[in-house]
C-alpha cells in the first residue's frame, strides 16, 4: 500500500512514545475496578485498570464489545450506569479525584474541561434546535457567554471544523447536514470551551470510508491546536493507528497491553493483540486465509481464575489457567499482561496466514455452473423513489436509487457490491430478494422474471435464494426459539415432515459450527452476536439455496469474530457450491471473500472486475479514491506490517 506511506508516519514517529511522567499528566486512572449489580448478580466489569494520559498526547483504547472500554470512559466522565459501583481505584483528572467530587463539581468539569464526541452524530444532536445553538451551548452554560457572544463563537467554531459558509449554516438544523458534517458539528461543540481533554468514543464508526480519514485528520488537528489530551475509543485498530500516539488494548475488563502505536503493530507481545492485528482482512492478499481468534470473550458473570484470554489463546500453558498475569513493563513504555511475554512469541506462529485457497482453485468454480442461466440476474434494473408528490398524487420529485444496472450471479461464485451508504447497494439486493419492485427492468431467477413466476416457480425461487442481514440483533423475532427460526423457511416450503425438518435443522446448525443440542431451544437474546450470525447463516442454508444474498454480513460483529464468519462463509461456499451476492462498505472483507467485485456509486456500477483487478489496477477515479481513503484510514497499520 504505497499510497498510504506519505500520510502515515506523522503521528507515530513525531510524538513521544514514552508514557507520560510527573506534572504533564492530565488524566490518570489508578487500579480502577468496577462492578455492576444486575438481576444475574454482581458482574465485574473492570479489573485493575490503570492508564495515564498527558497533555497533548493521544491515547487509544482498543477492545471488542464488552471489553470495558466504554465503561472506562464512563468512569472518567463520572457517568456510571445505575447499579455500577467503583470497588477500588480512582480517576484523577487535573489533579482532582473525580470520585470525591460532588455531582455539581463533576458537571462543571465535564462541560467545560472535557469535550466528548460519541459514535452516532445523529443521536448526539437535537433535531429541533439550530446547530449554532447546540454548538455554543457549552459556552452559554459553562462559559457564561451571552446569546450574541455565543452566536459569534458558533460561527467561528463551525468554520474551524471545516464547514464552509458558516454564517448561513449556523442557522440550519441537523437534518440539513450529511453524516460527516454532523460529526464535525459535534466536534465543534466538544471544543467550544477549549477543554483539556477530548474524549472520542468510536467517532468514525458511523461515517463512510471516504470521510473517515478526513475526520480523523480534523480531530488530531483540533487536539494539537488546543494542546489537549485525546482519549480515543475504538474497536478498529486501523483507525486507532492513524490518530494515536499510544494504544491500550483491553480484553474482558483488563488492560492486556499498552505500547506506542508503532511498537504495537511491529512487535506486539500479547497473543490477543497479535490476533487482532492479524485478524484484519484488509491486510491480506486475494486468496489468503486468516486464522481467526476462536471462541468468544468470557461472560463477566462467570468468575475466572486465570488469564481471561487463556481459553482462546494458542500459546496458553498450565499457569495461564490458574494465575492472572500482571501488567508489567517489558520495555520502556511497553507493558504486557502475559506470562509468556518474554519468550518472543511470533504472530505468524500463533495466527498463521495460510493460502489454502488459491485464486486458480476458485476460478474454476463458476465454470462448473456457467452453462446454466445465472441463479440471480438484474437486467437494466432501475429503482426510483418518490420524494414529493403533486396534489393529484403524481410524483413531482423523484430520486433514482439504482439506475439501470446489470448484475449476474452464478452458482459457485462470490460477487460483491461495494459502495458508500446511499450508493444504492441495499436497494439492489432488496430488488434481488423481491422485497422491492424495480421501477423498470427485470429481476430474473434461473432465467425467469420473478414478477411473473407461477406458484411452483415462486416456491423454487424462495427455496433457492436466501438472505443474511447485517444486524444479528434485529434479524430474529425475539419470541421464536432458534430451532423455529432456522426451521421457518423449510416450514414455509411445506414439503418435509416435522421430523425431517428437525433433523435438517440440527444438520445446518452443526454445519455452521454450533452445537445443535445446546442452541436449539435458546432464544436469540441468549446468544452472542457471532453466534446469532451463525444461526442466520444456518437458516439461510437450510433449504439448500443456490444463491445467498448477504447484506454486510460481518460489519456489526467484533473484529475477532469477523474472520470466523468470513471463513465460515468461504467454507460453506466451497462445500455447497452456493453462489454469494454480498454488499459491503468494508473493502477488506470484500477482498477477502469475493471472486468478482463491483463498485457502486450514486446508483450506477462504476467498475466491475475480479477482486485482483479492482484492488490492484483500479480504473475508475472513484474506485481509486475509495481504496486510497481506506488505506489512509489504516495508516500505520500498513506501514507497520511491511
Amino acid at each position: 500500500m504505497n499510497t498510504s506511506d506519505a500520510a502515515v508516519p506523522r503521528r507515530a514517529s513525531s510524538s513521544t512514545t514514552q508514557p507520560p511522567q510527573g506534572e504533564d499528566i492530565l488524566l490518570s486512572i489508578h487500579g480502577l475496578s468496577l462492578s455492576i449489580d444486575t438481576a444475574r448478580g454482581k458482574l465485574s466489569i473492570l479489573h485493575d485498570v490503570s492508564l495515564q494520559l498527558a497533555r497533548g498526547e493521544s491515547l487509544g483504547i482498543v477492545g471488542e464489545s464488552g471489553s470495558g472500554k466504554s465503561m472506562t470512559v464512563n468512569a472518567v466522565l463520572g457517568l456510571l450506569p445505575l447499579g455500577a459501583r467503583i470497588d477500588a481505584g480512582a480517576v484523577v483528572f487535573l489533579g482532582k479525584d473525580m470520585g470525591a467530587l460532588d455531582e455539581k463539581a463533576k458537571r462543571a468539569l465535564r462541560g467545560s474541561r472535557i469535550g466528548t464526541i460519541l459514535q452516532d452524530p445523529t443521536a448526539s444532536l437535537n433535531p429541533a434546535l439550530r446547530i449554532g445553538h447546540q454548538v455554543s451551548e457549552p459556552l452559554r452554560v459553562h462559559g457564561g457567554a451571552s446569546v450574541s457572544e455565543a452566536y459569534e463563537a458558533a460561527v467561528d467554531l463551525i468554520e474551524r471544523v471545516g464547514i464552509p459558509d458558516a454564517q448561513r449554516r449556523v442557522r440550519q438544523y441537523p437534518h440539513q447536514f450529511s453524516g460527516g458534517m454532523r460529526q464535525r458539528i459535534v466536534g465543534a461543540s466538544a471544543i467550544s470551551c477549549k477543554p483539556d481533554l477530548l474524549i472520542a468514543d468510536e467517532p468514525t464508526t458511523a461515517l463512510d470510508v471516504t470521510v473517515q480519514a478526513a475526520y480523523l485528520d480534523l480531530l488530531s488537528g483540533l487536539q494539537a491546536e488546543l494542546g489537549a489530551g485525546l482519549l480515543f475509543i475504538s474497536h478498529d485498530l486501523g483507525v486507532v493507528s492513524r490518530i494515536c500516539d499510544r494504544v491500550a488494548v483491553m480484553y474482558a475488563g483488563r488492560v492486556v497491553e499498552t505500547a506506542a502505536t508503532r511498537t504495537l503493530f511491529s512487535s506486539a507481545r500479547h497473543p490477543y493483540t497479535m490476533g487482532l492485528v492479524s485478524c484484519l482482512p484488509s491486510i491480506t492478499e486475494v486468496g489468503q486465509r486468516l486464522t481467526p481468534i476462536p471462541g468468544n470473550p468470557p461472560d463477566p458473570a462467570e468468575g475466572q481464575a486465570g488469564c481471561p484470554f487463556a481459553n482462546r489463546c494458542p500459546a496458553a500453558v498450565d499457569r495461564c489457567a490458574s494465575e492472572v498475569p500482571a501488567l508489567r513493563e517489558i520495555a520502556p513504555g511497553h507493558q504486557v499482561a502475559c506470562h509468556r511475554a518474554d519468550e518472543g512469541l511470533q504472530t505468524q506462529q500463533l495466527w498463521p496466514v495460510t493460502s489454502s485457497i488459491t485464486v486458480s482453485d476458485r476460478d474454476d468454480a463458476p465454470e462448473r455452473f456457467a452453462r446454466t442461466p445465472p441463479t440471480l440476474e438484474l437486467s437494466r434494473a432501475k429503482k426510483m423513489f418518490t420524494i414529493k408528490r403533486t396534489l393529484l398524487g403524481t410524483p413531482s420529485v423523484q430520486f433514482c436509487a439504482v439506475d439501470s444496472v446489470n448484475l449476474q450471479v452464478f452458482r459457485g461464485e462470490s460477487v460483491s457490491v461495494v459502495g458508500e451508504s446511499g450508493s444504492g447497494k441495499t436497494t439492489c439486493i432488496r430488488m434481488a430478494l423481491g422485497l422491492e419492485q424495480p421501477t423498470s427492468g427485470v429481476v430474473r431467477f434461473a432465467g425467469k422474471d420473478i414478477a411473473r413466476l407461477d406458484r411452483q416457480g415462486r416456491r423454487e425461487y424462495r427455496r433457492r435464494v436466501q438472505a443474511v442481514f447485517q444486524d444479528p440483533y434485529t434479524s430474529f423475532n425475539p419470541r421464536m426459539s432458534i430451532a423455529r427460526v432456522v426451521a421457518e423457511p423449510l416450514m414455509e416450503l411445506g414439503d418435509m415432515s416435522r421430523q425431517d425438518i428437525s433433523t435438517r435443522v440440527d444438520q445446518v446448525l452443526a454445519q455452521v459450527g454450533l452445537e445443535p443440542r445446546r442452541v436449539r431451544d435458546c432464544f436469540p437474546h441468549q446468544l452472542s452476536g457471532g453466534q446469532r450470525q451463525r444461526v442466520a447463516i444456518a437458516r439461510a442454508l437450510s433449504t439448500e439455496p443456490h444463491c445467498l444474498v448477504l447484506d454486510e454480513p460481518v460489519s456489526a460483529l467484533d473484529v475477532s469474530i469477523r474472520v470466523q464468519i468470513l471463513n465460515l462463509l468461504r467454507d460453506v461456499q466451497q462445500d455447497t457450491g452456493v453462489g454469494i451476492l454480498s454488499i459491503s462498505h468494508d473493502l477488506g472483507a470484500v477482498k477477502y471473500m469475493s471472486d468478482r467485485v463491483i463498485v457502486m456509486h450514486r446508483g450506477v456500477f462504476v467498475e466491475e472486475g475480479t477482486a485482483e483487478q479492482v484492488y490492484h489496477r483500479p480504473q475508475h477515479e472513484y474506485t481509486q479514491k475509495l481504496l486510497a481513503d481506506a488505506a489512509a484510514g489504516h495508516g500505520v497499520l500498513h506501514a507497520g506490517m511491511q
Partner: protein, 302 residues
C-alpha cells in the same frame, strides 16, 4: 472449525420457568398470587354475595336511608356497609354490582381489544390506501362523542347488558388501533420480517407469527388499564338508559348515584370506588406479570 463448537456457551439459565435468580424486589415474589387471589375473591363475592345477607338488590326503606357502615339504621335494621339514599343495603348492591362490573370490564375490554388490534394490524401491514382508510375511520370514531354512539345503539336495540358490552367495545377500540398500528409500522421494517418474506411467509403468517406476539405486551398493559375505564363507562351508559335499568346495581352506577351525597355520606362512593380500585390494580398487576412472564428476553429477571 472444531474448536468453534465449544465456543458455544448458551446460558444454562434457559431452564425451568420461574428462573433461578430471583429479583431483589420482594414484591415480585408475591406476584401473581396476590392479584389472582383478589380477583378470585371478587368473583366469589359476585356469585355468592347476595345470599349472605337477607336483603334484596332494590329492597329499600326510606326511614333507614343513609345509614353509615357497621351501624343500625333509622329503621332498626343492621347494615354491614351501610345503606344508600334509598335505604338499600350497600353490601348486597356491591355483590350484584360485581356481577355487572366485572363482566363489563372483561368482556367490553376484550371486544375493544379485538376490534382495535385487528384494525391496527391491518392498517400497519397492508398498503398505504388501506392504512389511510382505516386510520381515518379510527379518527372519526374518536371524534364522535362516545355517548352519542351509546344513544344510537340504545335506539336500535333494547337496552341490556349486551348493548353495554358493544358500546364499551365501540368506545374503547380506537386507542388500541392507534397503539398497535404504530408498533406494527416499526416492526414491519425490521429485518426479521424482511427475512420472513424471503422465506416465503404470507402476510397472514407474518401477522400471526411475527407481529402479534411482539405487540402482545402492549395490548396486555393497555387492556388491564382500560378495565377500570370500562367499569366507569358502564355507569354513564346505564345512566343514559342504554344499559341496565337504574334499579340494577353496578359499581359505576353506585358511584354515580352516590355522588351528590359525597359531602355527608362518604361511604356511598368510597366503598364501590375501593372495589373498582382493587379490581383495576389486580388486573393491572396480573397483566404486568403476564407480560414479563411470557417474554423470553426477560427470562431470569423475574
Amino acid at each position: 472449525m472444531n474448536d468453534l463448537t465449544n465456543a458455544v456457551s448458551p446460558p444454562e439459565q434457559a431452564g425451568r420457568p420461574g428462573g433461578r435468580i430471583r429479583s431483589r424486589r420482594p414484591g415480585r415474589r408475591v406476584l401473581p398470587w396476590l392479584p389472582m387471589a383478589v380477583i378470585a375473591l371478587l368473583t366469589v363475592f359476585a356469585v355468592v354475595g347476595p345470599w349472605l345477607i337477607p336483603y334484596g338488590e332494590s329492597q329499600g326503606s326510606l326511614p333507614g336511608r343513609l345509614a353509615p357502615p357497621f351501624r343500625t339504621g333509622g329503621d332498626g335494621a343492621f347494615h354491614l356497609l351501610g345503606t344508600d339514599q334509598l335505604g338499600r343495603d350497600i353490601f348486597v348492591r356491591l355483590a350484584y354490582g360485581a356481577r355487572v362490573s366485572l363482566l363489563v370490564g372483561v368482556v367490553g375490554v376484550a371486544l375493544a381489544c379485538l376490534i382495535g388490534t385487528m384494525v391496527g394490524l391491518l392498517a400497519g401491514i397492508l398498503n398505504k390506501s388501506v392504512d389511510a382508510a382505516l386510520m381515518r375511520g379510527t379518527d372519526v370514531a374518536l371524534s364522535i362523542p362516545g355517548l352519542l354512539i351509546a344513544i344510537l345503539l340504545a335506539s336500535i336495540f333494547t337496552p341490556s347488558i349486551v348493548t353495554v358490552f358493544v358500546s364499551v367495545g365501540l368506545l374503547l377500540w380506537p386507542t388500541y388501533a392507534r397503539l398497535i398500528r404504530g408498533e406494527v409500522l416499526v416492526l414491519k421494517n425490521s429485518d426479521f420480517v424482511a427475512l420472513a418474506r424471503v422465506a416465503g411467509c404470507s402476510t397472514w403468517k407474518i401477522i400471526v407469527r411475527h407481529l402479534l406476539p411482539n405487540v402482545l405486551p402492549s395490548i396486555i398493559v393497555l387492556a388491564t388499564l382500560q378495565i377500570g375505564a370500562a367499569v366507569v363507562l358502564e355507569a354513564s351508559i346505564s345512566f343514559l338508559g342504554v344499559g341496565l335499568p337504574p334499579n340494577k346495581a353496578s359499581w359505576g352506577s353506585m358511584i354515580d348515584q352516590g355522588r351528590q351525597y359525597m359531602s355527608t355520606s362518604w361511604w356511598l362512593t368510597a366503598i364501590p370506588g375501593l372495589f373498582i380500585f382493587l379490581a383495576v390494580m389486580s388486573f393491572n398487576a396480573l397483566g404486568d406479570w403476564a407480560r414479563v412472564r411470557f417474554d423470553p428476553r426477560l427470562e431470569g429477571r423475574r
